[in-house]
Symmetry: C2
Subunit: 596 residues, 2 copies
């Protein structure tokens, strides 16, 4: 079985020393988010996730969820429901929701390490409360007064949970194709009919009610994605005055059998004239959904991060314990029958790859979370605007890179175990299977890439990239002769310059041929992720260069940064070169000739 210990030390380092959340929170008026309080929350989060959620991780994988065909009811794995009750009692559900809606009003960035812990401890379980946050966001931004009055409090307190009902059998990415219908009723509600698939936490036994946020078409809807409206459809009917009614005509038709996250209920949901309420304006449903999706995308990025960290922790333990062969350069532990495998350079390559992607990725993910706060709460309008542009730019990078790296890190960590990694009892293969969903849901990596290059760079003319390049340049200027970080400044500056050039080149080619965007998107996304991480690693070296940290910690940051610059950042060479291949290398072949 794999184990998990919240990496509190590194989480604090990322939050306080690299990103500097204390000053940022203070500036934004989060008076309750002092370091004392944050530390207490982190400690308590570690206790909850390590002792309550983590032991249920393997149980969830083995048991899975169960579905009663007769009633449509879903039963979660042993212990999941009790763990959720503890989560609600502990006040975790509303940690970062506003105090007006019953939350604790902490900044978004304060909740993110807790999110990471939950995902690392038990990804499948974490999927149940996950989408409540998106539903809350959608209601806060688009809900009417009565909807906010009636739905927000139980959602924020965790008494009810939320879902996002987008996908239908014939449409996933292309929501314009969706068929679910909404007929207006005399009482102002709508009758919702259709089938949604891949609905995470579509049914469960945690709470009395579940709020489905559903995309559907009104009778007068224009075709395509401009004719989609957003509805809230409770499992138990809820009137405009908040009184509960009959069970609604919505039920789980079946559960999907999946590669991993067995403990997470992935439901086919049948809406059969279910009572729903319009959220926001007619035909403007996609906007509400994007509100939910951006939150969810950052959250899925953290899932990749959490799994990577858990995988690394276990690979590190195994590599220190497992005795096999002698170091090529000479025996290191003559008193043992063989040396621990961590002496072998190739095992270290795998471990350092994980360490550099996990610790660098942590800073990247937490910084994006701080941007969410700054975009809403920075005192200065220009700063809010800058944060918003950078957040939009970073969201697809964080989502795609942290999840691709999640697949990669769980691969390396399993590989450190040799054949034992393939055996269920070590728990490493579960992490690899669980990680595999993260590059698919909430938009595949390819979709993130199009969002980044097509929308955030091309359509928005690179506003977010400019902000980020400015940050890099400022950092480089300030630290050109920093005793610990100087060695990274020139390569970082060179990469930043190359990034800008590459962006311009793609832009120029895209003018002639729109397919150049799609052809460059994936490699541009990964390229961007690696350059971003180089920046965060250089900043991490500066931040760790203080007597507050013992030499071993500082060495860990310094050597991981050196490893990263020498052995991971060169992947940008391959990505840049691939981009140079252009659209022709992808489009020349007829679809029929692929297997002619």
């Amino acid at each position: 079985m794999s184990t998990y210990k919240a990496p509190l030390n590194d989480m604090r380092f990322a939050l306080y020393d690299v990103i500097g959340v204390e000053a940022a929170f203070q500036k934004m008026g989060f008076d309750d988010a002092s370091r004392d309080i944050l530390d207490a929350i982190l400690d308590e989060g570690a206790r909850f996730t390590e002792t309550v959620l983590s032991p249920l991780n393997e149980v969830g994988d083995r048991e899975g969820c169960k579905h009663d065909k007769a009633t449509g009811a879903v039963t979660t794995p042993t212990g999941f429901k009790q763990a959720y009750a503890q989560y609600v009692d502990g006040g975790w559900a509303g940690l970062t929701a506003s105090t007006e809606s019953g939350g604790q009003g902490l900044p978004h960035a304060a909740g993110v390490p807790i999110k990471e812990m939950i995902d690392a401890a038990n990804l499948a379980w974490g999927n149940f409360p996950l989408l409540s946050h998106g539903a809350t966001e959608a209601l806060v931004q688009h809900g009417s007064d009565w909807q906010q009055d009636v739905f927000l409090k139980p959602l924020v307190e965790g008494r009810w949970t939320g879902t996002m009902c987008l996908t239908e059998p014939h449409c996933g990415t292309d929501l314009g194709l969706l068929k679910t219908r909404a007929e207006p009723q005399q009482d102002g509600s709508y009758s919702i009919t259709g089938t949604k698939i891949f609905i995470t936490a579509g049914d469960h036994d945690f709470t009395d009610n579940i709020l489905h946020l559903v995309l559907a078409r009104l009778p007068d809807a224009p075709a395509g994605s401009k004719g989609i409206s957003l509805f809230i459809v409770p499992k138990i009917q809820v009137g405009t005055d908040g009184t509960l009614g009959e069970p609604n005509a919505v039920r789980c038709g079946s559960l999907e059998h999946k590669m991993g996250i067995h403990g997470s209920a992935t439901c086919v949901m049948n809406f059969d004239g279910a009572q729903g309420w319009l959220v926001g304006k007619p035909h403007k449903g996609l906007m509400g959904m994007f509100t939910m999706m951006n939150t969810a995308r950052l959250a899925v990025g953290l899932q990749g991060l959490g799994l990577s960290d858990r995988a690394l922790q276990n690979a590190l333990r195994y590599s220190r314990d497992r005795l096999q062969m002698r170091a090529l350069s000479g025996t290191q532990f003559p008193d043992k029958p063989a040396d621990p495998i961590i002496v072998h350079p190739d095992v270290r390559r795998m471990l350092l790859t994980c360490k550099s992607l996990v610790e660098g990725g942590r800073v990247m993910g937490y910084h994006a979370a701080l941007l969410v706060d700054l975009a809403h709460n920075a005192p200065d309008a220009a700063e809010r605007e800058q944060a918003d542009a950078l957040l939009g730019f970073m969201t697809p990078i964080v989502k795609a890179c942290l999840t691709e790296w999640g697949v990669e890190c769980t691969y390396h960590a399993l590989q450190c175990f040799g054949g034992h990694g393939y055996i269920a009892e070590h728990g490493m293969e579960q992490l690899a299977r669980d990680a595999r969903i993260t590059t698919l849901y909430e938009g595949t990596t390819g979709i993130q890439a199009l969002d980044l290059l097509g929308r955030k760079v091309m359509q928005l003319q690179g506003a977010g990239l400019r902000v980020f390049l400015g940050m890099i340049e400022q950092f480089c200027s300030e630290n050109a002769s920093h005793p610990a970080a100087a060695e990274f400044i020139a390569p970082l500056r060179a990469k930043a310059g190359e990034w800008q050039q590459l962006t311009m080149q793609i832009g120029q080619r895209a003018v002639a041929n729109a397919d150049e965007v799609g052809a460059a998107a994936y490699d541009y996304l990964m390229y961007s992720g690696y350059v971003s991480l180089a920046y965060w690693w250089a900043r991490s070296v500066v931040a760790s260069d203080t007597s507050a940290y013992p030499e071993a910690f500082r060495a860990g940051k310094r050597e991981a940064a050196r490893f990263y610059f020498a052995r991971i950042l060169p992947r940008t060479l391959a990505h840049a070169s691939a981009i140079g291949g252009g659209a022709a290398t992808l489009l020349a072949l007829d679809a029929e000739a692929f297997d002619a």
Copy 2:
């Protein structure tokens, strides 16, 4: 469910047109291996694997093998046993074994496409007959006369199967640590006692007897890997005159629960004073085992190839059928509600990555198989020696690269399905889970890398590399102005030169520090694989440039080669740059400081 159709067209192209097996077989005196006969075997292999094995692939995954604790007996999934009977009846077991031992005497390279079909159709099933080939090899090369008389025929005919019993709980890669004991008995046999783990096909219900090839220590054995002997331990005792005796004191203690290949029986085998016979000389067992392992390593490479091809076939079908979004450059199918996703450049990137790795990898794998034949049967001694050197050099590359690409291709193919790829019913996730074992067993990728760089390049002074570089240079000279291939000659030549330089640089650094070999090994291995594939792609373009193939096929080769050179070969930049990072970037950090 995923489907499989043997890619006969491309297999024939690789065999006949790129590698030119016809002339090679003729030169070696394989008179029965004419094109007519080979074609008939390929057709029949396709029929058997497509109609018998492939439909059982999902059954095996779902049912797995069952173990009876009371008797130790293993029951295979529904249909597996009957399929094996058909395999034996069809004469597949002894296809490439010598006629003297009851086989059909076909060259090794003629059996390899059949092996690929079996793996693609049903990897778990393919593992049952797989190790019989290694056991046959070991007996042919190291067995005494009576052992060959008694054991070879049933093995070659498939009436019995073989296993390789190497691994013990505390030793996998490091066989020097193994503890299983062999006590000499008065009748010339040995009493074998110990526990072996990860024994593929250690027990099953296919055949009456199973021959375990077991590594164990004699009482006077020196410590470490120089004190290991090889024994043959039948499930049912066999006397020196071939008479069957009592059930032997060997049984399956339990089955492992694994990430994939559920239909394959991975056994803990308990030897409790079992009767065994020494194969070869005392304390020279590793040599016999390496005979088996080299065969098995090439075979595992083909497993990666087979899974990649099956994954690609299904991704291609789905990408042509699935309608989602419009092409960025304009609607391509106005009569449909959306365009098929194969119009999107990023989907094509994934498909072309698979196509270039599968079809190029096929040529690479088949060529290595031909080297096996040439190393034994080439009429000229110098040619045999050259083939042997090149085979030794290519074996770790074929094993590691085809399996790493297997993981990658099953990843991309699943990704083409979006969220549906994660759902069991599409069968893509099984391919990804099954592929994951191939980079672990028969030596992890890291072990292949050390074999390549430490042994085949450093110890053997690059003999195999020199042969291969000579082939590349000859090809480049001959095709510098080839109408279809000329564009690839300069980049290929440049890479070959860089490969040679890189090898020399590592060699120079390794003189000062043996850890430089371990530090460079993985990246050197992958670098070598990508440059090798560039050569095979350039040759494929030349071979396809004939009127014998329709333009669509030729375009498929040409455009895949262009894609490969433009978008995959640049990975060598990252690998070369990472090698430049040297050992210091891996070894500087104290083992304790990884998570300080």
